[in-house]
């Protein structure tokens, strides 16, 4: 069957079940309730003063009823410094556990060591927001029989509380925890800031292990994760590589190209009609997106505009803007550098939020619904403004859905920033390889060669034209870029589906086909 973006979606996939095709960004939400029921979270019982502390991760796993076909979940707040996901799978593999469903909120380069487990049947299914490097390559080439499911950060919460992802065991690394499992990422030698993505895992997993390298006296505050959901506590020497978890401050890019794009994007925001006192703002941490914050900060100072809140992945740059009084509040679901942890711990206007409050579409309203302006990146964008942030130009899975579609659907103004080509590959396509974010939720594309406004948003285009900005028709820009780079030869795919991309409401927006290995 075709979804509303013209992508062919199978009705059923073995190992995943029936698929519902995407019908529009708000189609499912409009009726005001969801047909999918919320499943009950498991009830457990502990005796007064019963000890939860285990001597080792292995002991905690043995106590957690490991079994074939189990689902194991993790959070990715330790980014590329995480070591516990690999350690946990090593332990399960050594116990002979097979057919594991891996449900990490995202996967990074540091998880490459689990590749042999995909090959030998230890891990047979994956749910994740992102997949990169060797895993992304192997999955694109078809290492798994069952397609991986790519979800957004908000969509993951929905999948868990509607029972699409049934977590048997959640392993939650924390930089500080007490003997009862109250835990946080906001202090300790391995501090990583917000632990927002793990909150739903703690609530819904049948067994929950908190792992820390910093056992503090009871109680561990703040109660980012609270003891009433935690079965076991493990103390280890290290939860990860501190240098890769969070370091110093995030610097603004020096790339002239990114700065030019960011400057143009800031001009777009200024003249969009949404740059008003009390506006809510989100930017990514990557190259051009973060640089937009730099120019917006200057414009806010010049015009005396004070915003309401910043949301999302929080960098030290957001903290500076909070401290300058340019925004009232930071809502932090994920922190990007070491300075952020400190602010999260000490500033009461810097608030840790769970992923459900951040972006889950199946509740009475997440905070992404309140965004005025969001700035997002793209691996590819097409002439219908559909955005790909998951598959690379070489056909591998090498990115993350993250909060991209969540924030785009909520924002009054979604600005996508990217260069018009990268390493000779044009970024503006007739048709993106994989749709993650539907074009109807993208208002404007900003490249170094011009600004393209989605024809659905006429008033925005008028506002920007009136301000004298260089507006181009996206089809013209696409042709202009092709003329510079030459038209790339096509990649070849088989009929086998290796990945499905869920939209935040659980409908299927696209599928990823197996890449034919290049010769």
């Amino acid at each position: 069957m075709l979804n509303s973006l013209g992508r062919e979606i199978p009705e059923y996939i073995e190992g995943i079940g029936k698929l519902e095709p995407f019908q529009g960004a708000l189609a499912k939400l409009r009726k005001g309730w969801m047909d999918e029921p919320t499943i009950p979270a498991p009830n457990r019982a502990y005796l007064p003063h019963q000890s939860k502390v285990c001597k080792s991760l292995e002991e905690a796993i043995i106590r957690s009823n490991p079994h074939n076909g189990m689902t194991v979940s993790f959070h990715h707040h330790l980014r590329n410094g995480d070591i516990l996901l690999v350690q946990t799978l090593n332990i399960l593999h050594n116990m002979g556990i097979r057919e594991i469903t891996l449900a990490s909120s995202s996967l990074n380069e540091c998880h490459d060591p689990i590749l042999p487990y995909l090959i030998d049947g230890t891990v047979t299914r994956i749910f994740s927001s992102g997949i990169r490097n060797q895993l992304g390559r192997a999955i694109a080439l078809g290492v798994l029989e069952t397609p991986v499911v790519i979800h957004s950060h908000g969509g993951r919460v929905r999948s868990i509380h509607t029972g699409k992802i049934k977590i048997d065991l959640a392993v939650i690394p924390a930089s500080a925890a007490d003997c009862e499992g109250n835990a946080t990422g906001s202090h300790g030698k391995s501090a990583f800031g917000s632990i927002g993505y793990a909150v739903i895992d703690a609530r819904y997993a049948k067994e929950v292990i908190v792992v820390t390298d910093n056992l503090v006296d009871y109680p561990c505050i703040p109660l980012s994760i609270s003891q009433n959901f935690i079965d076991h506590v493990v103390v280890v020497d290290s939860i990860g590589d501190a240098s890769k978890i969070a370091t110093g401050t995030t610097r603004i890019t020096k790339s002239p190209m990114d700065l030019r794009i960011a400057k143009l994007a800031a001009d777009v925001i200024e003249h969009s009609g949404f740059f008003l006192p009390g506006f809510a703002f989100q930017v990514g941490a990557g190259g051009a997106s973060l640089a937009v914050a730099k120019f917006i900060r200057e414009k806010m100072r010049d015009k005396g505009i004070k915003g309401s809140f910043m949301l999302g992945g929080i960098t030290s740059y957001c903290v500076d803007m909070l401290n300058d009084g340019l925004f009232e509040t930071l809502f932090d679901v994920q922190s990007f550098d070491a300075v952020v942890s400190n602010s999260l711990l000490n500033n009461r206007r810097h608030i840790e939020i769970p992923a459900a409050l951040y972006a889950n579409p199946f509740n009475c309203g997440c905070i992404t619904n309140k965004i005025d302006v969001v700035v997002l990146g793209a691996l590819e964008i097409d002439v219908d403004f559909n955005v790909n942030v998951i598959t690379g130009s070489e056909g591998y899975i090498r990115g993350a859905s993250g909060g991209h579609s969540d924030t785009a659907s909520g924002a009054k103004l979604t600005v996508v920033v990217c260069p018009s080509f990268r390493g000779r590959i044009p970024i503006i396509k007739k048709r993106v390889h994989t749709i993650v974010t539907p074009g109807e939720t993208v208002h404007v594309l900003v490249t170094e060669r011009g600004i393209c406004v989605n024809p659905l948003y006429k008033e925005l285009e008028e506002n920007l034209r009136r301000a004298g900005l260089n507006i181009k028709e996206i089809h013209d820009l696409e042709i202009e870029v092709d003329t510079i780079t030459g038209i790339p030869g096509p990649l070849e795919y088989t009929d086998k589906i290796v990945g499905i991309v869920e939209y935040r409401d659980g409908t299927i927006i696209d599928v990823i086909h197996q890449l034919k290995e290049r010769v």
Partner: protein, 95 residues
């Protein structure tokens, strides 16, 4: 013509290409080692440009290594021309 000396031009940066040229003994012909991050998409034109330029300079007894990270055509041509001229000791000015 055959190269007089080993020469190179370009960088390993994204959107650039690096060419390395070495002279080979007489009657060795051409030995080409070509790699590109965009071989799948642009391999054909990349190979063609290199062969055409080597032909136009009638280069022989040459070992050429090309490592491309997505350079545009004008960049490829300029880098290769520079490497060839350097290997022939024809460099002038800032070449």
């Amino acid at each position: 013509m055959k190269p007089k000396i080993a020469a190179q031009s370009g960088t390993f940066e994204s959107s650039d290409v690096i060419f390395l040229i070495e002279p080979l003994p007489d009657n060795s012909g051409r030995k080409l080692e070509i790699s590109s991050t965009v071989m799948q998409q642009y391999g054909e034109s990349f190979n063609r440009i290199i062969v055409e330029m080597l032909d136009s300079w009638q280069m022989t007894d040459i070992h050429l290594i090309a490592k491309d990270k997505g350079a545009l055509e004008p960049t490829i041509k300029a880098r290769l021309e520079t490497a060839i001229k350097r290997s022939l000791e024809q460099q002038e000015g800032t070449l």
